[in-house]
């Protein structure tokens, strides 16, 4: 009797454990190929498209080398590297997080800026609220979504707003620029602030509106090799690829500006 009484309780507790552990699991992959050399690149999430393309080019130029990526928020990546994750190259979406790596004395060479990105207004297709200027974002009745000030895109939004003298009243402050984009593309929000490159990558699912005030917050993207990398030469070669004409071509095609 006791056991049959406890069984549902135990089942529920077990299920509770299963359900709660599936919180945001951050993917950091560890490649264990034996013959090939593997270059591990930690890069900001906004570089997913461009760096994947550059990785393929790098593999073509260096037979026997496999490039694996860990794309995530820059601050997540820095804390993973300082906690001992095996990275050869680190590309950040802002200088603040690169400075954290340098402060931990883990940068293998002087970090160099390779791209820059600015904010752009994003709306659902057709721009239902007829947003035309930055000031329109503060209009009553416009459901605006931006990034939280704690993350780079949010601090950029805050800088732009204060230099433009506009008080933004967002209905939500999201965790990442991708979350902002998703809520606008789904039509839940009528406007959002994301990076120029995000608008370009989103294609037809959203409309983008460039605004002059965005120049007051330019995000610089620095790159460096990681100290104690087992593939220091390959890491340096990858950094050169990004800084060189091939890398710059891929980046500018995706909407990145020169630093």
């Amino acid at each position: 009797m006791t056991t049959s009484r406890r069984a549902p309780f135990l089942a529920a507790v077990l299920a509770a454990l299963v359900a709660t552990t599936s919180l945001a699991a951050c993917g950091s992959d560890d490649s264990g190929s034996t013959k090939e050399k593997t270059l591990t690149v930690f890069a900001a999430a906004s570089l997913t498209g461009t760096f994947t393309e550059l990785g393929k080019k790098f593999e073509a130029d260096h037979p026997g080398v496999k490039v694996t990526f860990n794309f995530a928020g820059s601050s997540d990546l820095v804390s993973q590297i300082t906690e001992g994750a095996p990275a050869d190259v680190f590309a950040s979406a802002d200088t603040k997080n690169m400075d954290k790596l340098a402060a931990a004395d883990l940068d293998g060479q002087e970090p160099e800026n390779f791209a820059s990105n600015t904010l752009e207004i994003v709306t659902p297709p057709g721009n239902p609220e007829k947003i035309a200027t930055f000031a329109d974002l503060a209009r009553k009745g416009v459901d605006l979504v931006i990034c939280a000030p704690e993350v780079p895109c949010g601090s950029a939004a805050r800088t732009v707003a204060s230099s433009a003298g506009v008080t933004l009243k967002p209905v939500s402050e999201e965790q990442s620029v991708k979350d902002v984009l998703a809520k606008v593309a789904a039509g839940e929000a009528e406007a959002g602030l994301v990076y120029v490159t995000d608008v370009k990558a989103a294609g037809d699912t959203v409309d983008g509106i460039v605004f002059p005030e965005s120049s007051s917050a330019v995000n610089l993207y620095p790159i460096t090799t990681v100290k104690d990398s087992k593939n220091a030469d390959l890491a340096a070669a990858f950094v050169q690829l990004v800084l060189g004409s091939v890398g710059q071509g891929v980046l500018s095609a995706a909407g990145f500006a020169r630093p």
């Binding site: 009484r5 599936s22 939500s172």
Partner: protein, 262 residues
């Protein structure tokens, strides 16, 4: 008094069992060790922390109440009646238990969102759910409802329907039987289910961030605040995480198996 031989356990079993216990307990020790005790109170009483905690308590209480309101009738129907397709329905209703919360959030978005299944109806009624506290309560109710239904249905089946049959044969109406016999009989199971639902609601993250958004005091619950603080103030994130661990420990203490089996 001589020792009686019991079957006992093979000795080698203790090593993996101890390893398993360490696997569960070590992370808890690690988080306690990481807490900045000198500033602990300041960290958990900052404006954003208090807003998140208050919101989490409010929404979790609301969603638990909602779970009881709709979960008790569901459990009663599932435990006390038979109808075609009942088994399939039970499995489907329990789906949020095993569904990734992010998927639950997407499903809710496609139901209650502006362009969702009910979006047009809600627009006509001038009800706006997205980015509101109601969205948080809906997300939490969606993921925690099965906890209440499962534990209450279990209690109902274990309690059996003998007393109900007797009461009915003595002329009690169904509502009287429910009020005077059934519910008092399964009250411990109902409470256990409600506490589990509350705990699950407090910890809800995936469905909330996908469906409700994140704004201080409106939709940014404690888990969302922890996830955000991690970016800029890891000490605050750890302190708040400990608050959630304490809530979880209290829930487990409340649900001690002896208590649930009483």
């Amino acid at each position: 008094m001589s020792r009686t031989r019991t079957a006992g356990l093979p000795g080698w079993l203790y090593a993996p069992a101890a390893l398993g216990a360490a696997f569960v307990l070590l992370p808890l020790v690690a988080i306690v060790a990481k807490v900045d005790w000198a500033n602990f109170l300041d960290l958990i009483t900052s404006e954003s922390s208090r807003a998140a905690l208050a919101l989490s308590l409010r929404t979790s209480a609301a969603s638990t109440a909602l779970c009881v309101l709709i979960g008790v009738p569901m459990a009663l129907v599932l435990a006390r009646t038979t109808f075609p397709g009942q088994r399939i329905l039970r499995s489907l209703v329990l789906l949020p238990l095993v569904l990734p919360p992010v998927v639950g959030g997407l499903a809710l978005l496609y139901t209650f969102g502006r362009r969702g299944l009910l979006g047009h109806t809600l627009e006509v009624l001038d009800i706006r759910i997205a980015f509101s506290t109601i969205a948080v309560v809906l997300a939490q109710t969606f993921v925690s409802l099965p906890f209440l239904v499962v534990s209450l249905e279990g209690s109902l089946r274990t309690a059996g329907d003998r007393y109900e049959t007797v009461a009915a044969s003595l002329g009690a109406r169904p509502t009287t039987v429910l009020r005077r016999i059934t519910l008092p009989l399964v009250l411990p199971g109902l409470l256990a289910g409600a506490v589990l639902s509350f705990a699950r609601a407090m910890g809800e993250f995936g469905a909330t961030i996908t469906f409700a958004g994140s704004l201080q005091g409106v939709t940014r619950t404690l888990p969302l605040e922890i996830y955000l603080q991690r970016e800029s103030d890891p000490d605050a994130a750890v302190a708040l995480a400990l608050v959630l661990v304490v809530v979880a420990v209290l829930v487990i203490a409340w649900l001690r198996p002896e208590r649930a089996a009483r």
